[in-house]
Symmetry: C2
Subunit: 189 residues, 2 copies
């Protein structure tokens, strides 16, 4: 199993469920997760829930992490306009490490130029979909894995997205048992 | 629609998804939600995510709220052993206001003596189920509403639990649209 931690980018207005569900799932699987605040260590989500980040984005050394995860919400537009976030996404992509985004956050991957020819999903709104101009196709599935690029549809797909991340990071054989442990009987489609 | 806020009790070791999903859903529906920390304003969850509470449990005036919601995780045992939490649950129950708990947290409702003759669900482990001695029956559904008592099964049922809370608090007609907005195609069963 992969031994490096995963970095999660936390910007103001992040969708709380889209942050918490993947982090919860990955930590249950024994994968280390580090929350990196984009503009501060205490960050308020889209629905007023404040979480504390472990470090700041400016202090992230990309070579120490096995991938990057981007929750959605208004945070996606902030991340898209943050050069350090785009640089981190590009660096992970160049190293063929995990690059994951859910809901509106695939627009950040598009802005970083890493979605060319990929099959992805995203939040199904024109304001998001219209930006995904370089992708091969947009799926209506809850979560889509295409190589090292994993995308999720929205807050209601956050657990599906988390399970896809865990499977990609070497824990596929444990996902069925984890879904049972977490009382999640649903199959993403 | 109900105009009073709902209180959510936040104790160390709370299941992050079980806190965040219901709060997110209720706030999307325009229902005010207040997070009350049991032993402090910054509280660390079961998987290391720290959230900031809005106030302390000792400062809660029950008559100003329309109900109380208890996330599960290790926090459930702390809440069960906190007299002020049990008193708040009893006061809400006496006023026939919403009393809700998910995962392990129904043990707090049992300790408060408010589950007698009720149909509930809970996390399906003996350490939880064995404590629910006064209930009428335990369902294997994701979320169960019996009068003003609403219970949920576990983290994978947190969205279902949230939708059940929203429906109970006067927003039933908006749940289908909200599930679509949140990309949640699943039906609790």
């Amino acid at each position: 199993m992969n031994k490096q931690p995963v970095i999660v980018l936390v910007a103001p207005g992040f969708e709380e469920v889209e942050l918490v569900a993947p982090v919860d799932i990955l930590r249950r699987l024994g994968i280390e997760v580090v929350l990196a605040g984009v503009s501060g260590l205490t960050v308020e989500g889209a629905h007023g829930i404040c979480v504390r980040a472990d470090m700041l984005l400016v202090d992230v050394e990309p070579e120490k992490y096995c991938g990057v995860i981007l929750p959605g919400g208004q945070a996606a537009w902030t991340l898209r306009d943050t050069p350090a976030a785009l640089a981190l996404v590009r660096e992970m992509h160049s190293a063929e490490k995990l690059v994951a985004a859910i809901c509106a956050a695939p627009i950040v991957l598009e802005a970083a130029g890493v979605l060319s020819g990929r099959r992805v999903t995203s939040y199904p709104a024109p304001g998001v979909r219209d930006e995904l101009t370089s992708v091969k196709c947009i799926s209506e599935e809850q979560a889509v894995t295409d190589g090292h690029i994993i995308t999720g549809r929205g807050p209601g797909a956050a657990l599906d997205f988390g399970f896809a991340l865990g499977a990609y990071l070497g824990c596929e054989s444990r996902i069925a048992a984890l879904k049972e442990e977490m009382c999640y009987p649903y199959t993403a489609g």
